[in-house]
Amino acid sequence: MSETFELAVIGAGPAGMEAAIAASEKGVRTVIIDGLPREGGQYYRKPPAALALPRTTGVEREGSLLSERLAGTRAVQIFNALAWGVFKNEEGEGYSVGLYGSDAPKWVHVRTLVIASGAYDTSVAFPGWTLPGVITSGAALILAKSQRVAPGQRALVAGSGPLLLPAAACLIKAGVELAGVYESTRLFPKGIRYAPILLGQWQRMREAVQYLSLLARTRVPYRTGWSILEARGSEQVEEALVAKVDPSGVPLEGSVRTERVDTVVCGFGLTPNTGLARMIGCKMEYQPNKGGWVPLRDPMLETSQRGVYAAGDGAGIGGAECARLEGRLAGTAVAVRTGHLGGAEAVRALGRITPRLARARRYGEMFGELFPPKPGWSSLGRAETLLCRCEDVSLKDIRAAIADGARTIGEVKMITRVGMGNCQGRMCERPVAGAILQALGPQGASPDSVGMYSIRPPLYPLPIGFFAEAGPDEPEPAGGAPDGFLSKTDT
């Protein structure tokens, strides 16, 4: 149950699809792997065929065209498969990717990898963020757009960044009454200096105008300089508190408002999904405007690990256009490395991508600069607020660990078990790092000194027994048997 390819692309969103297309069109033997049932990722996520939805928007057409192009290549597509681990082969170059999925081979062996793992909503731990009814902007978009289910009856949208507007629009179209959109960044006058970058982005600007006019028509207030403070309720959300905030995101006294809502949609920007890159040992750097920790890459998008490339939002938030061009660049770079492309043809292919990528990056960076993560987000939690949703670890527990001498997020993890649950720290890393920075900032702590969780296989909880079934001819994951996974026991 193993197969050999020249390239494995992990993630079939905008970046991964482009990478697989670019590489396999040049003759690279390519496999593309995703945990979802179909290609598209979150941005081009397709509603299930069984729901028979009319498909009309520009983004959906773009996604369908990309799907057709991918289908026209010889790339092997594996869906419903989790890439739970990547291991460097001991002899020579190359990697083994461990897969978990009913129709997937257990292992694929490859010379090169493109990690196109995408991003997820940045966690901000405000009181009540664990209550049923608090969902991320990503969840709201998926439920309302591709599942066609309204997540609640009356909602409030809060957070920061360009995703709040499409989230609000899809809720309105789903028939959800909106109490308001609360954007914690004040856009004026700071935003004005980015106007020149917007020239030429007519499609995106038209979308923004459409969203804002939908809010105006439906009389939904769009307030900038406001933040969510708290969600309250016994079994689920019953009300939400919002307040004006200063530029660093700290709530201002005397401005608190209470809204009766059953749903709070929060979107505080995106965090790159870097678990696989960390697992392989790619050197990481902290880039707040790109969403936090990202793998260090050379101009051809190769990471510090030979033959491992990273593209798209999973390597630093830049948006869909940037992700597509990065995917194309990484796929082309792999074609060069594997000897399928060279000389003048390679120069021409790369020359077609790089100027467009530079423009797309400038556009992506604008959002990173306009809507940076704010230090005040770490001041929303109270002592009993849970930072780790999997293991129920509170801010108080984190502070106790710091008082006991913990200085890094790794030390806090060892003491409190924070980040050791099912999500592998994807949800709590930001709030925990923020809490440490807040406590130790005056003593000179920085994101680099606090550090990040180290990630070990498996990346996802897998059923007990799965590893026992791996055949005797399969490679043993370096470092012995994976630990910390959860059991799915049959009853």
Partner: protein, 101 residues
Amino acid sequence: MRSKRSKATLPDVQHRRPIQIHVDGRPVEAYEGETVAAALLAAGIRTFRLSRKNKEPRGIFCGMGVCFECLVTIDGVHDLQACLTGVAEGMQVETCRELGL
């Protein structure tokens, strides 16, 4: 149940096939192609599990398979992600199942 469904589901859907699942023993109407999470939300069920230590109610959060908050028991198999699992006719879903660990 049907009237609740039509309110929660958007009008542009030309659903092909309504199916029935059971949630904690109660019949719940769902549609082929939906995830378990969407079917539960449409039926007004928001608490999917109780948290490990404090036994607090939790429901769908990230919606895309990252946070593992939406774990339910499906046909006897524990800790499956409701946001990633599609519904199937006759499926037995249990919420807030204590594992007795």
